[in-house]
Amino acid sequence: MAEGNKETPEIIGFACSFCSFKASEMAGSLRMKYPEGVKLIEVPCSSRVDPAFIIKALMEGADGVFVAGCHPGDCHFIKGNYYTRRKIAALKEMFRAFSIDEKLRLFWVSASEARRFVDKVTDMYNNIKETKR
């Protein structure tokens, strides 16, 4: 269902509720801006994200998807993001085979890194906007 003909790209972000989602809230309270096209979905841990969610988001019209979790070693559930890393690395390899790997990104953002979150998300947004043109 490729209905992505809108002017601005839409990006779905899966954000870990303990770090990246907190970082996005902090960015809000510090009045930092990130693009409107970014829609965040809060997940209890980045390893909750089944790659099926990402494929579904992309096939149903999203222009990009990112998964944001805690830095390796800082997971609230001790080892969740190590699994995420393996799963997303493999998914990206699969997307590379289909030449759509620019649509998926993985970020490590801790709860205090609001600036880093905004930078990463904005960079991804601009990149995708560029390729859409």
């Binding site: 269902m1 149903e60 190590y82 890393r85 699969m94 085979a97 289909f98 970020f107 991804m124």
Partner: protein, 335 residues
């Protein structure tokens, strides 16, 4: 590596001896005239065949969800089928305790769909390795044709002598009952390790045009030996909406090809079986529309297994990559 030289009479006595015990069965191939197919032997192993030159389904699927302890089973199957069985034991879909799995060197198979003339099937196992017949794409590009997986393997050397080689304790116990001494096996075998193929590369347009014919019958999912979830994500309306759910979705998003969600279905399935896919081509064999699925599933799975230096079904003690991790790895995973 040590093994025992085999004669056909050895195998007859091995199988009949195994079947004498109460509650023991063999899953293998039965030859009935010119038809060969999977067969479960109970009581006697009459008319068994080590080789089946036609592929219809992956035999591991028949004993998926086998949890009974105490039963004694002997699998005498192709390497791809034994590899699927190994993966299923790791996924806790098969209780390994009572099972001895023997893989047999495979000369490659023809598709069961091809209506070839079967007037002249060779009587002797050796002749299968000599002829140059039409093979399936999956078999031409097979990653492991050698019987080197499972508890034991039956292999042929350059002069087409049969050898049985134990790989685990279970295999050793079974082979102990055979007459003859364990001797060093020859290094040169009839089937040598396969060359590495280039990593698979394609694009979405190619996938889309290949899937044009797909009718979403899901036969590929149902016949895949390692696609095992009881509650598949594609059951229900969440991923593949029908009726009201479809109407709502189309009103929300826009026009769409029908059946809707073909790429979604195959991409998700491709990812879900990526580490366990053995490249047997059962999906393509089950496809009524002749879509070249093996190309995609095998290509993607080999690429994804490559990242973790994993090979599906190679050994019982290798963990499936998504179920484990190393702390110090994949430094460049983050963008």
């Amino acid at each position: 590596m040590k093994g025992k030289k085999l004669k056909n009479s050895h195998l007859d006595s091995l199988f009949d001896g195994f079947l004498k015990e109460e509650g023991s069965i063999i899953l293998g191939f039965k030859r009935d005239g010119n038809a060969i197919g999977h067969h479960i032997f109970k009581g006697s192993a009459k008319d068994y065949s080590l080789i089946n030159p036609f592929f219809s389904a992956n035999g591991a699927i028949y004993f998926r969800r086998l949890f009974s302890k105490g039963a004694k089973l002997l699998f005498i199957l192709r390497p791809c089928e034994i590899r699927a069985y190994v993966e299923l034991t790791k996924l806790t879909q098969i209780e390994r305790e009572g099972i001895v799995a023997i893989s047999v060197d495979c000369p490659g198979t023809e598709s069961e769909k091809e209506k070839t003339d079967r007037a002249s099937l060779p009587e002797d196992i050796r002749d299968y390795f000599k002829g140059d017949n039409k093979k399936r794409w999956a078999c031409i590009n097979c990653r492991e044709k050698r019987g080197v997986v499972g508890d034991a393997g039956i292999r042929l050397d350059r002069d087409y002598n049969m050898w049985i080689i134990p790989y685990t304790e279970k295999g050793e116990r079974l082979i102990e009952t055979l007459e003859g001494e364990l001797t060093d096996i020859p290094i040169d075998m009839a089937i040598s390790p396969d060359r590495q193929t280039d990593s698979f590369k394609t694009d979405m347009d190619a996938l889309r045009s290949d899937l044009k014919r797909c009718v979403l019958c899901m036969n590929c999912r149902d016949m895949c030996p390692v696609c095992y979830c009881v509650d598949c994500v594609f059951n229900g309306d969440e991923y593949l909406p029908r009726g009201d759910a479809l109407l709502n979705k189309v009103l929300r998003t826009g026009s769409t090809d029908m059946p809707q969600g073909k790429e979604l279905f195959h991409l998700i399935r491709m990812y879900h079986v990526s580490q366990t896919c053995v490249g047997c081509g059962a999906c393509e064999e089950a496809c009524p529309q002749d879509i070249p699925l093996t190309k995609y599933f095998k290509g993607i799975s080999e690429r994804l297994q490559g990242i973790f230096s994993y090979m599906s079904g190679r050994g019982f003690d290798e963990a499936i990559p998504y179920t484990t991790f190393i702390e110090d790895e994949l430094k460049d995973a983050e963008d």
